[in-house]
């Protein structure tokens, strides 16, 4: 039976495709949240595979906090066009027009209004009953117990004490009107799996993941890219050119770069295996306290 061995990547792929198809079959109005990051890129590819040769039967949605790296937005628009994606972009315009941003309002207010609230607005506006997210269980402690199909009440809230048991690959997809499910098809993937899959499948990713000379400012130990002139001038003046890359992508003022010379996926994997920092530490929002992610999830953040 040796020829019927299946590699862990193919097994993970098959499980994810199964999850994605299950949602498309059982929900009336699903959406796939697309963050432009590497995990999202893998998730979108899995969706394309799940329905091949047909088109993915649900839209992708990007919650644009208006503070993303410019290269992310360029990448998003180019790939959506080239691959004929049905892409929804939503921003919390009310907060944006009031000038909310991380430099003026701090990371917590910004994240809440431009990410969490923006997401909830978009879900309500479109009446989505299922939303795919690219989160992985190995990212962070509180995610280790998250279900693949994670139930949310009418207020999009997650109750860690009251999760539905999830057995085999038999997913309970029943929700009442107004309730919804967050679905995490990449739950069982690790960071290394993601990189190996990107390499194996030649999945395009935002160039920010690769090292390059970039102007960065050291803010409280985080190397922040001077991506546009909304960064206060006194900070921008301190910028230095450094060979850096990003291990995760988000709002540029909240995402620290790491010094690196990795210009290929092989370099990145090599660096990752030797590295001393786990992935999310370069995200400033996690820094406050250990249980902060759990708190954000209860409130509706992915």
């Amino acid at each position: 039976m040796n020829s019927y061995r299946i590699s862990h990547l193919r097994q993970l792929e098959s499980e994810s495709i199964h999850v994605i198809r299950e949602v498309a079959a059982e929900f009336g109005n699903p959406v796939m949240l697309y963050s432009i990051g590497k995990d999202s890129s893998v998730m979108v590819r899995l969706a394309e595979k799940a329905f091949y040769p047909a088109k993915v039967p649900f839209p992708l949605m990007h919650i644009d906090s208006k503070w993303k790296f410019r290269e992310m937005i360029e990448f998003r628009d180019r790939y959506a066009k080239e691959n004929n994606w049905d892409l929804i972009v939503h921003s919390n315009m009310e907060a944006y027009e009031q000038g909310v941003g991380p430099f003026t309002h701090g990371s917590q207010v910004h994240t809440d209004l431009m990410k969490t609230q923006a997401l909830l607005q978009a879900l309500d506006t479109h009446g989505f009953d299922a939303a795919f997210g690219g989160a992985r269980r190995d990212e962070e402690k509180s995610r280790a117990k998250e279900r693949i199909f994670s139930f949310r009440d009418r207020f999009h809230q997650w109750d860690p004490k009251n999760q539905r048991p999830e057995l085999w690959d038999t997913y309970n997809t029943k929700v009442r009107k107004g309730e919804s499910i967050r679905v995490f098809p990449l739950s069982n993937w690790t960071e290394l799996d993601i990189w190996e899959y990107i390499r194996q499948e030649r999945i395009p990713i935002v160039p920010l993941y690769y090292a390059k000379e970039r102007p960065v400012v050291n803010m409280d130990g985080n190397l922040i890219l001077t991506d546009d002139d909304r960064m206060p001038e006194e900070l921008r003046r301190k910028a230095e050119m450094k060979m850096v890359r990003f291990r995760t992508l988000g709002c540029y003022p909240l995402t620290g770069a790491v010094e690196s010379s990795a210009t290929t996926i092989e370099d990145i994997v090599l660096e990752m295996m030797a590295t001393t920092k786990s992935e999310r530490t370069t995200r400033v929002i996690d820094y406050d306290q250990d249980a902060s992610m759990e708190q954000k999830k209860r409130e509706g953040y992915f």
């Binding site: 061995r5 097994q11 498309a24 329905f51 040769p53 057995l167 390499r199 194996q200 090599l270 920092k277």
Partner: protein, 641 residues
């Protein structure tokens, strides 16, 4: 993993790494068995814990640690705040690590009795279970419970990790006593592969490296075993089952059936049968994004196209015509109750089985099993964490295999129809044979003399009609001309002044029994309804003439009991099976081709009655009513003068 890999070797490393297979295992133990420490040790020693998580650990350790001078590995694991405060894990947590040989997913489940639910959840996807005991405590009740659940969920490999050997001075005698007791216990369960290992997770003895302190132990350390245990053979490559998940229809004439291969192997050109339609077609392609495949095997997700357009949709199952699963609405299963609300018997739940969702009723609880003693006891209804054997009836036929043979097609969940919570997990044992069905036609004890309250007694009715209220039950094979005979008899009796009612299968099935199929269990229910109808009509003094195949003694006896033996007159139309075939070749041939089923005398047995009240030999097409009429007159049912 080597940190000193150079860029040249990294490509080689990745090529190797991508080909590793995946082992999912479960860890279970009592609160103080050191389970979290063991997992922390596996993660730590396999060098997958990143330094900043370690830094956070050191910080936490000052505040909450329980391990004295040693690093408290458990703190790495307990995710949710509430749990950390209580010092126990209360939900299944998944952990990931890899070595040079394999990738691993750990389902870490808590030990407390009230969390049977979580262990069942974790066990449902695991290939292997590591069950921990404290060497100083030995086998405890929870050890037995964990082992039973592993066995119940079909886990084929179990490791008993005898932990904290450091507390018993690494004593061989202590270990062997525990191992012997455990092996004695597991012989009562269905676990093919059991290993006992002595270790100390805290001190790292025999976890990754062979322990010098336990030189007497000649087995491999735990991690080595996990890396090498053979699990691919646990998959079912024999019985092809393809529960259709989604129909892929891009605009241009392509129609593909997307699913995950649950078991078995499918190749291009294979003939497949669709359930429930039993229509056949041939696989023309196995489509994937990478290109077409020649064959697909579990657990791949693929898309099949078929030569002929047969109607297949989500919830249907594609199988091989000569290896079909059980098809039926009635089955027995082991059920684990997961809901906070207790089970309500006779209430309709939703069942999700493969890609099918249907309504289902719990007909009977056969027993509840005490997970600690394995003793069975009677139970009315289940509460949270109860486990036991039940009989279920779904509203439509499911396509299933016993769980023991096929995890994917033997597993199901029950969903509360109001709250939509998942309330139970089930593992199908087998189809229920008709004579074992509870509360079906056998429930004759509930028949009481009806009509008692009527102010018109039966004898007055019979006097007015000038007849006896009886049932003339005409039976025989399909095609034996029993219907013709019944209609002719009725016409004749009516013409002579009798007040008659004619009941035949087709009429009842089109209305009263329209949700029932031809399976033995449904047939029994169908007959039960007809029998009660006859009884009511007879109580009104009406002469009832019935025409049913009535294939076995069981059905006939029970029908007679419901109607009343003295009022039940069995007429057997005895026709040669070949004669019957000739009168409806179409149906018989359909059954031969497998497109129809449950036809007595064709694909299921037909037992002729040994002592019918009247036997009519039917050899030619002509109908002769005289035999039946003479019988009726002779029994004083209706005077034929």
């Amino acid at each position: 993993m080597q940190i000193s890999l150079t860029e040249n070797t990294i490509a080689e490393f990745l090529r190797h790494d991508q080909q590793k297979d995946l082992l999912r295992f479960l860890t279970a133990g009592s609160v103080d068995d050191g389970k979290s420490t063991l997992i922390g040790r596996l993660l730590f020693d396999s060098k997958k814990i990143y330094d900043d998580q370690l830094a956070a650990l050191e910080r936490d350790n000052l505040r909450e640690g329980h391990a004295g001078d040693d690093m408290d590995y458990a703190l790495l694991l307990d995710g949710l705040k509430a749990e950390r405060e209580q010092g126990i894990t209360i939900d299944v947590a998944y952990r990931y690590f890899s070595t040079n040989r394999r990738k691993f997913i750990i389902a870490d489940t808590p030990g407390h009795e009230q969390y049977t639910r979580n262990m069942v959840t974790g066990a449902s996807t695991a290939d292997l279970a590591v069950i921990l005991v404290d060497a100083a405590q030995g086998i405890v009740t929870q050890t037995k419970r964990h082992t039973f659940i592993a066995s119940l969920l079909g886990i084929k490999h179990v490791v008993l990790a005898v932990n904290k050997m450091d507390l018993v001075d690494y004593s061989q005698e202590v270990f062997e006593t525990i191992a012997a007791e455990y092996k004695n216990f597991v012989t009562r369960l269905n676990i093919p592969d059991v290993h006992c290992m002595p270790l100390s997770a805290l001190r790292g003895e025999n976890v990754v490296e062979t322990s010098e302190k336990m030189a007497w132990y000649d087995g491999k350390p735990l991690l080595h075993f996990l890396e090498t245990v053979h699990i691919a053979g646990d998959r079912n490559f024999i019985d092809f089952r393809y529960p259709v998940q989604y129909v892929v229809r891009p605009s241009h004439g392509y129609r593909g059936y997307a699913a995950r291969v649950a078991s078995g192997i499918v190749r291009k050109g294979d003939e497949l049968m669709a359930l429930p339609s039993r229509k056949r077609s041939v696989v023309t392609s196995i489509t994937t994004w990478e290109g077409e495949l020649e064959e697909a095997f579990p657990p791949s997700s693929v898309t099949l196209t078929l030569a002929e357009e047969i109607d297949v949709s989500r919830g249907d199952m594609l199988v091989k015509p000569h290896n079909i699963p059980r098809v039926g609405r009635h089955f027995e299963a082991m059920l684990v109750w997961l809901g906070e609300q207790p089970m309500v018997a006779d209430r309709q739940y939703l069942v999700k089985h493969t890609t099918n969702t249907s309504k289902i009723r719990i007909d009977k609880v056969r027993y509840r099993i005490d997970v600690n003693t394995l003793k069975r006891s009677d139970a009315g209804e289940f509460e949270l964490n109860d486990i036991g054997r039940v009989v279920l009836t779904a509203n439509r036929a499911l396509f299933f295999d016993p769980y023991e043979k096929n995890r994917a097609t033997g597993a199901f969940i029950l969903i509360d129809p109001v709250t939509f919570n998942t309330v139970a997990a089930g593992m199908i044992i087998d189809r229920v044979s008709e004579d074992e069905l509870p509360s079906k036609i056998t429930g004759t004890s509930a028949v009481t003399a009806s009509g008692k309250r009527s102010r018109v007694p039966l004898d007055e009715r019979e006097a007015r009609f000038g007849q006896k209220g009886v049932t003339v039950w005409i039976m025989g094979l399909h095609g034996s001309a029993k219907n013709d005979l019944a209609y002719s008899v009725e016409r004749e009796l009516f013409d002579r002044g009798a007040t008659t009612v004619l009941i035949d299968g087709g009429t009842v099935r089109s209305g009263l029994s329209r949700e029932l199929d031809y399976s033995p269990a449904d047939r029994a229910e169908h007959m039960r309804r007809v029998a009660h109808l006859c009884r009511m009509l007879n109580d009104q003094g009406l002469l009832t003439i019935c025409s049913f195949i009535s294939p076995d003694d069981n059905i006939r006896r029970q029908t007679a009991e419901i109607i009343g033996r003295e009022r039940f007159h069995l007429v057997y139309v005895d026709a040669d099976p070949e004669f019957c075939r000739r009168s409806d070749p179409e149906l018989y041939e359909k059954v031969d081709r497998g497109e129809a089923s449950y036809l007595p005398g064709a694909d299921m047995p037909f037992e002729p009655p040994e002592e019918p009240d009247l036997r009519i030999i039917q050899e030619k097409d002509a109908i002769d009513v005289s035999g039946v009429l003479d019988y009726i007159a002779a029994r004083g049912v209706f005077p034929l003068v």
